[in-house]
Each structure stands twice: as C-alpha cells, then as structure tokens.
C-alpha cells in the first residue's frame, strides 16, 4: 500500500462507520433476514436425467459438443480422432497441440498413443517468454483436463498450476476437454459443500491464482443481439466424458 492511500483508507472506512452507526434503519424496506445458510439452494438439480446425460445435453445446448464413452473404450483413440477432425493438416503430417502436462490429463499413456499418429503435445513452461507465447498462440487445438464439471449447467472448472496453463483452454480456436466421471458433480452447490467439508475450498482458490468456470464456447450478442461464437476464447468446445472409477 502506498502512503497516499493510507489516508484514503482511513477516510473511507471512517465515513462508512459513522454513517452505519448513525442510521438505525439502513434500507427503505429490509428483507429482515441474515445470510442464507446454506445458500444457493434455488437452482434446480438435474433429477430427471443421469448426471452424464444432463452434462452432455447442456453442453450441446450451449453450442458445444460431447462424447460419452462406454467403459472400456480407448480414450486416447477418441482424442486422436477429434484432433484430426479439427486440424487442417493431412493425417500423415505432424500436428502440435497446446496441452496441459500429460499427467494432468487424467488418461494414462495418452501422450504415447498420440505420438504414434504424429500428434505431439506442446506443454508451455513460461508464457511470458516471447517465443513460447508466439508458438502457443499459433496452435489451433488446446487440450486440458478439469478440476470439476457440473451437470446442471454444462460447466467445467479449470484450475491453473504447474503443467496446467490457462492458455491451453483459452488461446486456441478449439478446446478439447477431458472429463473423468469421478469429477462430475450435479451442481455448484454440491461441489462447494464437498470442498467445504474437506476443508479444500480456500486452498483451491488461493493456490490457483485464478480459477475459471467455463460454460460452453466463447460468445457474444453485442451486434444486434445476434449470437456469434469464438469472440476471444475457443469457438468450439468438445468434451470427452469417460469412466475412471473402475
């Protein structure tokens, strides 16, 4: 804090305290209750569908897409197919995609499988380095895992960390997101409750720098309320949901 603003701080807090003490009734008509506890119980939970079905339906409604893999399906194979569909190069040419570190993608041996068909993962170490940044910005596809996913809104939660760049889910036009079933929650509320119980919520926020809830592809309706996709973030989001609970 700089010196000038210490004065400002005391002035502001002092004025607020004096006004609050003086006024017995603060609002024209108070709601007359304190903080809701637990709060956030107003939004419907996807009771009529399975979690997976609800997540997939929501994501499609939001102009995203979703594959739900049956147990035993090769996840790596599915990833390869999706990347090939997105990239303009012919299958024989080597392709680089912007990625989280392989051990953050929830799928064993993914890197090796992709390497076998000429798809390599670029895992940036420092995006403030100019050449790293330019290389990352030139890639068409980004692949990430998730911290959590939410069935009733079709949202995912990305939490940055070592080997988990923000850029991978943000810079490329196409975002491939790997969703292990064990991380799929019905609602934000259910997830919050679990993290509170486990005492992990504060650490998740504070250690991540910035966590981000992402719900479908980037969009805007600023021009005559016409929906346009891929304004700044990805234009397409494809989720692959797979069973990791066996």
């Amino acid at each position: 804090m700089d010196n000038g603003s210490i004065g400002a701080r005391e002035q502001i807090l002092g004025r607020l305290r004096r006004s609050l003490e003086k006024q017995e009734t603060l609002f024209r008509k108070s709601i007359g209750r304190d903080l809701p506890d637990p709060p956030m119980t107003v939004f419907p939970s996807p009771a009529d569908k399975s979690l997976v079905e609800s997540f997939a339906t929501k994501l499609v409604e939001l102009s995203g897409s979703c594959d739900v893999l049956r147990a035993g399906t090769d996840v790596a194979e599915q990833v390869m197919r999706q990347v090939r569909e997105w990239t303009t190069q012919s299958p024989s040419e080597p392709t680089e995609i912007l990625s989280w570190a392989p051990n953050e993608l929830h799928v064993p041996r993914l890197e090796q499988t992709l390497a076998g068909v000429g798809i390599s993962l670029f895992v940036p170490e420092d995006l403030h380095d100019e050449s790293t940044r330019a290389r990352a910005a030139s890639l068409e596809v980004g692949i990430t895992g998730i911290e959590a996913a939410f069935a009733n809104t079709g949202s995912i939660l990305l939490s940055p960390g070592a080997g988990r760049s923000r850029a991978a889910g943000l810079l490329p036009l196409s975002h491939l997101v790997l969703v292990p079933l064990s991380r799929l929650y019905p609602t934000f509320e259910a997830w919050l409750l679990k993290l509170r119980q486990e005492g992990r919520l504060e650490a998740l926020l504070q250690e991540g720098g910035q966590i981000a809830f992402v719900t479908g592809p980037s969009k805007s309706a600023d021009i005559e309320l016409t929906l346009t996709l891929g304004v700044h973030g990805p234009k397409t989001i494809h989720a692959i949901v797979f069973d990791d609970t066996e």
């Binding site: 804090m1 603003s5 210490i6 400002a8 701080r9 502001i12 607020l16 609050l20 006024q23 603060l26 609002f27 024209r28 008509k29 108070s30 709601i31 304190d34 903080l35 809701p36 709060p39 956030m40 119980t41 107003v42 939004f43 419907p44 170490e125 995006l127 403030h128 940044r133 910005a137 940055p160 960390g161 070592a162 080997g163 923000r166 850029a167 934000f188 919050l192 504060e202 926020l205 504070q206 991540g208 720098g209 910035q210 981000a212 809830f213 719900t215 592809p217 980037s218 969009k219 309706a221 600023d222 021009i223 005559e224 309320l225 016409t226 346009t228 891929g230 304004v231 700044h232 973030g233």
Partner: protein, 480 residues
C-alpha cells in the same frame, strides 16, 4: 450517435425521440432481453433467489467496513497490492502511476462500469498509455468515440450496418453485414492487443472477503484474457462489491446471469486470488486491487444505502418503458442509465442538482422493482430523490403559481364546478382527432399536447348524471 450527451436534458430526449433507428433497435433488443429473462426466472424459485441475493447484499452493506478490511488482509496475504481511492482522480492517479512505474505503453481492458464511471481511459491516454477496450461492444464504441448506452449491452444503439462501416474504415474489413465476420475481424485485431499489452485492467463483479478474491463475469472470454496474459493485472472495484463468502459470489453470479441476459450462467466466471504462483506457466506477475469510493460512502451518508445493493445486471433498463423510448445516451454524461442510473447519477455527483432531471425520467410504473434481483425499490428511491432535489432548490415561479391555483380550485367544490363548466364549453372550440381527444391546447398547456392528446371532457359531468338519476344533490351550496 445522434444525441449530444452534453446538451440539456430536454434536448437529449428530443434528439433520442427523433431517432427512429434508435427506437426500433431499442424496442427489439429490450423486448428480446426481457423475454429471455422471463423464461430464465420462470425455471427457478425466483422469489427465493431474490430473497437470498438481497440478504447477501444487505449483509455486505451493513458490514462493509469489516468486510473491506478482511478482503484487504486476504488480498495482501495472497500476494496482491491493495490501493484505496476516495475520488475518481485518486483512482486514476493510482492506475496511471502503476503503469508509469512499469513503463507500460499498452493496456487492455475488460468491460467495467467502475472504470467507465471514473473515466480511466482518458487518464491513461493523457499519461501516454494506449488503452484498448476488449469487450466486443465496448471495442466498437471506443472505435466510434462514443460512450456506452447500456450497462450490459453497450452498443445496443448501433445497427449492424453502422458497425460494418466502422470496421471497414478502422480495421480494413471487407464489406459485409454478417456479425460472425465482423466478430472474426475484431478477434484478430484484439488477439494481438492481448498478447502485446503490458497491463490488463478489469472491473469487479464480486469480491470475496474470506479468500481475498476478485470475480469477473464475461461471455466472450476477454475478462479471462485481460487478467491472464499481460504481466500486470489491475482490478478496479467499487467498495460496495464485496461479499462475505465464496457461496455468495456464486449465487449472485447466477442471479446476475438470469436477470441480465436470461442465461443460467455466463460463459466465463474468472475468479482471481492473486498473481501467478511459482512454477505456473502463465498468469500476471503482479496483481493490484484499487478500492474506489468515489461518492459511495456519501451515498450511505445521504441515506440511500439501497442503491449500494445494485449488482449492475441491467434488468431494470431492459424493462423500463422510458429507457425503451430514449435509450442510454439521453441520460447524459453518465456511465449509468435507466431507472438505476436515474438514482445513482445524481447521488454520485458532487452536486446532485447537475442531474436533477433524471429522477423525473420515470413514469413510476414499478416494473423496475419487479425485475430487480436484489429487490431495490427504485420507484420509492426516485420519489425520495425528487423530494430531496426539490428541497435543495426552489421550484420555478410559474410552477408554484400553478400548484397554488390547482389547490385553490380542487379544495372548493363550487369553484371546481364552475371551472369545469367553463372548460367544457371552451373545449368545443379546440381541435380534436377522430376519437374526439383534444390535440392542441392553448399555451401554457400546449406543452402537454406537444407529445400526447388530452381525453375530451365528458359532455355531462358526473354530478349532472347523478342528479338525473334522482341522486341526492351533492351540493355546491356547501361551497365556503
């Protein structure tokens, strides 16, 4: 833009009403947004959501000093630098100082009403920093050199062809009216701005006290880009944005999304608790939070705490019959328009009389109160503000004379009776339309008929009809 925002209120409204394109665009957009909101809130227990949102914000304002201290403590513990600003000038100085000390020449900004309110762009440009708005709508109006006309849809007053012409001129885009192509042109231009800027600036939708966290709501992803790519991140927040817990921010986020655009949630909800940690591949190297008062503590002093509950969703603008006719620019040189703007603008001003007409730009129909996710009683506040503003200045002589004449008449049945008889006789000589309504009254009443008609005076009065039916005489003889 056909409205001079520095002109007097009457002129601005006349200019807005004369702009047919503006009114078509407003009507279309506002009904669409209102419909989408109605669908989104029909799917949930709306009253419960409003009660919970309101309870959270009331708690926050009641405990504002303590929550701000807690927020500051946690932000600092998270590695942020915290600054306090009493005025717009102080806030601008803090941000330009940060820029100057780090040799920043280019900055990108995510859409923010607080920075609009303090005119941060002008201050940075004066300090030699090129500042680029990155929300598509804000970018368009920045290119056009105009202020925003709506809290959440800043370019609602422009048609696709106007925007196309602007992009062709400024970005060398090929001629097209396709929003997708215009969007792609902007993406390309703004992408390089994001990657080259040395500073990212955002506002703040909610600040979480318990964790020291700044939350940004966007759909385009510009908020996430501006807070992730540049090496320095500065968040500018009004002091009323703090909430106690993580749960509160998540609830309010959903309440704002449903109320503003009818979405369940926005595409991005960026939740920043400090600069990047050691070993992280990206994120800002430093993070600053500027806590801005700029009239908010004075609003509390003036006993208008209710407006500090506002979450800036814009639902009251979308629903307001007056906003739908005149749009945001008619509210003058202010960041806030519509019903909430009509209350906040005079209250934030050093001299409330500079915006004294705004509380009258309302028919008090009450629809703003119905759609507000935090149940702000806007009609009540507008009335209170009218009252306070009238006390501050003496009403014009003719107004006082007119009110005196009116009360002299209606307090005395005999006088009222005689006067209405005279008016009935006189009205026969006035021009009427097909329905028989009076279309032109003599001065000074002609002001009324300039933009509306006066229903014709009934050929027989109620009293006359009453006595025709054998009713007891209501007696003009009681006249004192």
């Amino acid at each position: 833009m056909n409205i001079d925002i520095t002109a007097p209120y009457q002129t601005r409204v006349r200019q807005a009403l004369a702009d047919d394109n503006l009114r078509t665009a407003l009507e279309r957009a506002m009904s669409r947004l209102s419909e989408k909101r109605a669908q989104a809130v029909a799917a949930i227990d709306l009253q419960r959501m409003r009660d919970e949102a309101r309870a959270i914000k009331e708690h926050a304002i009641k405990n504002l000093p303590e929550l701000l201290e807690q927020l500051e403590r946690n932000l600092i513990a998270n590695g942020c630098q915290v600054h306090w600003a009493q005025t717009a000038d102080e806030a601008n100085e803090i941000v330009t100082d940060i820029a100057r000390q780090r040799g920043v020449r280019r900055a990108v900004k995510s859409k923010s009403m607080a920075t609009e309110e303090i005119h941060l762009n002008e201050a940075l440009e004066d300090a030699g920093v090129k500042i680029v708005e990155t929300d598509l709508g804000e970018y368009i109006i920045q290119l056009a050199g105009e202020p925003p006309s709506h809290i959440t849809a800043p370019v609602i007053h422009k048609r696709a062809e106007d925007i196309s012409a602007l992009f062709q001129r400024e970005l060398g885009m090929r001629p097209t009216n396709d929003p997708a192509e215009m969007c792609a042109a902007a993406r390309k231009q703004l992408r390089s701005e994001f990657l080259e800027a040395e500073m990212g600036i955002s506002g703040c939708n909610f600040a979480i006290a318990e964790t020291g966290t700044i939350c940004i709501v966007t759909n385009e992803g510009n908020g996430r880009m501006a807070t992730s790519m540049p090496p320095v991140y500065v968040a500018v927040m009004g002091i009323e944005k703090v909430v106690p817990r993580v749960e509160d921010a998540l609830l309010l986020w959903q309440a704002v999304a449903r109320s503003a655009t009818g979405q369940e949630v926005t595409v991005y909800f960026s939740v920043s608790s400090g600069p990047r940690r050691p070993g992280h591949p990206d994120g800002p190297k430093e993070m600053h939070v500027v806590l801005v008062d700029n009239g908010r503590s004075r609003i509390l002093e003036r006993e208008y705490a209710d407006v500090l509950l506002c979450v800036r969703c814009g639902a009251c603008l979308n629903a307001c019959p007056v906003y739908r006719e005149i749009g945001g620019h008619a509210y003058g040189k202010t960041a806030y328009s519509g019903p909430i703007g009509a209350v906040i603008t005079p209250l934030l001003a050093d001299d409330p009389k500079t915006a004294k007409e705004l509380p009258f730009a309302s028919s008090l129909c009450g629809v703003c109160r119905e759609v507000c996710p935090v149940k702000i009683d806007l009609p009540r506040l507008l009335l209170d503000l009218r009252h306070d503003l009238t006390k501050l200045g003496t009403p014009p002589k003719y107004e006082r004379a007119a009110i005196r004449a009116y009360s002299n008449t209606v307090e005395h049945p005999g006088r009222y009776h005689r006067l209405s008889k005279l008016a009935r006789w006189f009205s026969r000589f006035l021009p009427t339309n097909k329905e028989g309504d009076l279309t032109r009254l003599p001065p000074p009443l002609s002001a009324w008929t300039q933009s509306r008609v006066l229903p014709r005076i009934a050929p027989r009065s109620f009293r006359a009809l009453w006595s025709d039916r054998g009713g007891k005489d209501m007696g003009s003889s009681n006249d004192g």
